[in-house]
Amino acid sequence: MLTRLRVLLKPLFRRHRFEEDLAEELRLHVDTYADDLERSGIPRAEAVRRARLEFGGVESVREDCREARGLRLLDELRQDVRYAVRVMARTPVFTAAAILSLALGIGANTAIFSVMDAVLLRMLPVEHPEQLHFLAHGTGDNPGLSSTYPLFERYRRDLDVFSGITAYNIQEFKVSSAEGSDLVNGQFVAGNFHSVVGVPLVLGRGFSSEPDQPNDSSYVVVITEGFWTRRFGRDPDVIGKRLAVNGKQVTVIGVTGAGFDGLRPGRPLDITLPIALKMVEDPEFAGRHDTWTGLNIVGRLKRGVEDGQAVAAVDTVFRGYMSDPAQDWVKRDGRLPDGLSIGRLMPAGKGTGALRQQYDLALRALMGMVAVFLLIACANVANLMLARASTRVKEVAVRISVGAGRARLVRQFLTETVLLAIVGGAVGLLVSLWATTAIVTLFRAGQMPVVLEAEINARVLAFTGAVSLLTGIVCGLVPSLKATRVDIAPTLKENSTGSAGTGRRLLPAGKVLAMCQVASCILLIAWTGLLVRTFQNLKTLDAGFQKDGVLLFYLDTRGSEAQVCTLYGGLLDRLQALPGVRAAAVSTASPLATDSEERGIRIPGLAEEARARTAVTNRITPDYLFTVGIRVLRGRGVTAQDSAAGPKVALINEALARAYFPDSDPLGMTFSFMSAPNDPVTIVGIVQDTRHRNLREPAPRMAYVPLAQAEEPPGLLTAVVRTAQDPRSHEAAVRDTVRHVSPDLVISYVRTLEEQVDASLVRERVLAALSTGFGVLALVLACVGLYGVVSYGVTRRAREIGIRIALGAQRAALQWQVIRETLTVSAAGIIIGLIAALVTTNLVSAFLFGLSPRDPFTLVASVLVLLATSLVAAYLPARRAAAIDPIRVLKTE
């Protein structure tokens, strides 16, 4: 094998040696033959002559030998590359323009692809991620992942198709130190998590796979590289250090590395604790059958086990568990809801899919946009090549007449464009480095930071390489085929620059390319317009609350729960007393925060339905509605009199009133929450609808109840503060006040309501910003392309124009003629582009809000922009045409 490789490669790298050897071998042959002839009695001189003669042309034999060793292609390639480099160096402006076009096009594609790679394609940095599967349940695209601990135990006991099954539960933790407390992202995991998932460790060890029972050795923590860096400055002696997590002292035993952020890509992970500690916090956790939250189960499939076999096994165990009487509480009319009826597997090699789902479509759309953008760039380069090819007609004719094959010439042209594309691709990689950083920053601008590690990896490099190569071929194909179809005789007979004869045939190709450019461009501009207007529509939407002038933050009260309400009383009084603060309140939810609690309700007099009645519930203090700017339409709001001791009351929004009290006045009526069916609450007010989960969805049914009347004090609350001026300017004072009231209160995630609303629009903003960027660049490229074609046309017809001027043509008329021709080309492109835009509307309609994908305003605006661009492109060449000096032009003939 190795010898074989040496045989194949040696001539490539030791070319000089190869040639010498070949010459030596042939010389030996001729000499030996001559010796033999001499021995048979022929005189030496005659023998040598005959030996040479019979052997034939040494040079052609050598050439054949080289070809036999696959060297001829290489030689020709080398020739072509050398030639291409020379041609490129001779026309630096042309080369720079082409490379720049390609660099932008390829760079944009690389950038989007590397983001796509990070979001959609990348596997978790663990051992054999493809073997990992979530043990999920339910049907459809969105299977449920949450489970109970007993289900996890049952899976571990009954399944033998997995080499290991483990579980994790993501939540936030309070990490305290002398400087104060912080909320960090963490997870509780089963003891076998690190070994089953195959988590890479840079220091120490993972948890040991003992049964998950709390004991002394449970007080340990494994931290991620990010947390190690942030908190410990990458201290190599971090193992054995202690950390106060949720009020417990735990010892650091390991540091995970290699970008491992848990099984939830896009979100940071700081610490991992053994699930045994959760059992310390919540002793019933291990036996509880009715809490289907947070605990995700993941297993590593044994080698050779078929997916179908594994799914069947999981389904059997799952159904067995669900038939347990302990699960009767989830049944409706004796039946399990769809989401809990079957067990199934979900590939876990890329982690949970929230980020993928959120951006999958958007990234595909962007990929489509950059592909169109690259087409525009390609058309530009092809056009430039065409224009230049026309000046090389004579050279081509000469080469064909001396016997060069057309295929050979086409290959040479292609070498040139591929070389351009490869250089363009290399520059494009640099462009993409910058662009990727910008895009990742766009993603990060949200409040819940999306952690993206977009990088230039092997996959991205391969993509860029392939795109460059393809681009080179696409750019070069039309020009090379056109340019090599040359009528030899007339071209050679002509004694001038040799372009007039074939130029007329070359121009239409250029026009067609320019037309395609305009068409692609209008497609991009129309999409951009739609996306930008969607973003604006959402930004300016009346969501039912007033987003300006509100500061909010999370308050973690776990550990100080007994006096929560009095604590808030004192805190709110102090906050309200701050200068510039108009109102302050706390609540369990806030508009467009990612958390919302949907609770089942019962309405007396209304029959039970198969689908439970629900209301998104927010527990609030009296000033909440005023602070957030939600109007009470009828009745009253929550007051200080609605205390724990007072009668239970609630406010509902219009959506709930419409849905559940369609024929009656809800004021004064009662309903009860499923969790406390014998504790009716009286509706005392109706408030305005507000968008809650996101801006696109209409307002959900909502109920507001006094925080003071909550059944159990919630641990995590949102504080909202309405300020007279810029809410951010009050941040420091607010933080001071909170610390002053109680050092136990962890304040986190300080943001304005406006930022919170913006954060829900990350996808829209990314799409609008990027498409605008690509749109503007596409316009520039199309403008340059159009300019190139028109300008080339004017140069080509300089003589004709000169003659017409000499014959008395009006210069203004000539100018108008050039502009008219340009507009004809772009009008044709615009029509094609509009048709394409109308046909492809369903590609973008999923992203739009508040306008139709055929929005006439956007389409008309795109057309106007394109027409204006065409005018700009035509202006200079038109002026040049009108300024042609007939005497000079005719003299050069």
Binding site: T3, R4, V7, L8, D21, E24, E25, L26, L28, H29, D31, T32, Y33, D35, E54, F55, G56, G57, S60, V61, D64, C65, E67, A68, R69, G70
Partner: protein, 113 residues
């Protein structure tokens, strides 16, 4: 030199393989050996010998090594590789089948039809 026959296309490679299968040879030696073993009936055009050798080497059927010729000059000797041996066997078998078939066809008499 006696009467020489024209080479059928595709047979040159087979003959070269056969020649070097007997003993390592340099290029000129291959020429002589083929003439010898074909009882002077086959003469290879000298110009096409070397490209064929290089092609066979490229395909990994023969291996080239520098050695010394009878007249004490540096010469490139070709030997058959394992793959070459296999190829020679296949080609020889194919050729024999073809030759036998053609011979049988040409021997046919009116009675047999």
């Amino acid at each position: 030199m006696g009467k020489t026959a024209d080479l059928l296309p595709g047979t040159l490679d087979m003959l070269i393989l056969k020649a070097v299968s007997l003993k390592p040879l340099h290029g000129y030696g291959v020429l002589l050996r083929i003439r010898q073993i074909s009882k002077e009936a086959l003469d290879i055009p000298q110009g096409s010998l070397y490209p064929a050798l290089y092609r066979l080497e490229h395909q990994g059927l023969i291996l080239a090594e520098w050695g010394e010729s009878d007249n004490k000059r540096k010469a490139k000797y070709y030997t058959l590789t394992q793959a070459g041996r296999k190829r020679l066997r296949e080609e020889a078998a194919g050729w024999n089948r073809l030759a036998a078939a053609i011979a049988a066809a040409l021997d046919a008499t009116p009675d047999e039809v």
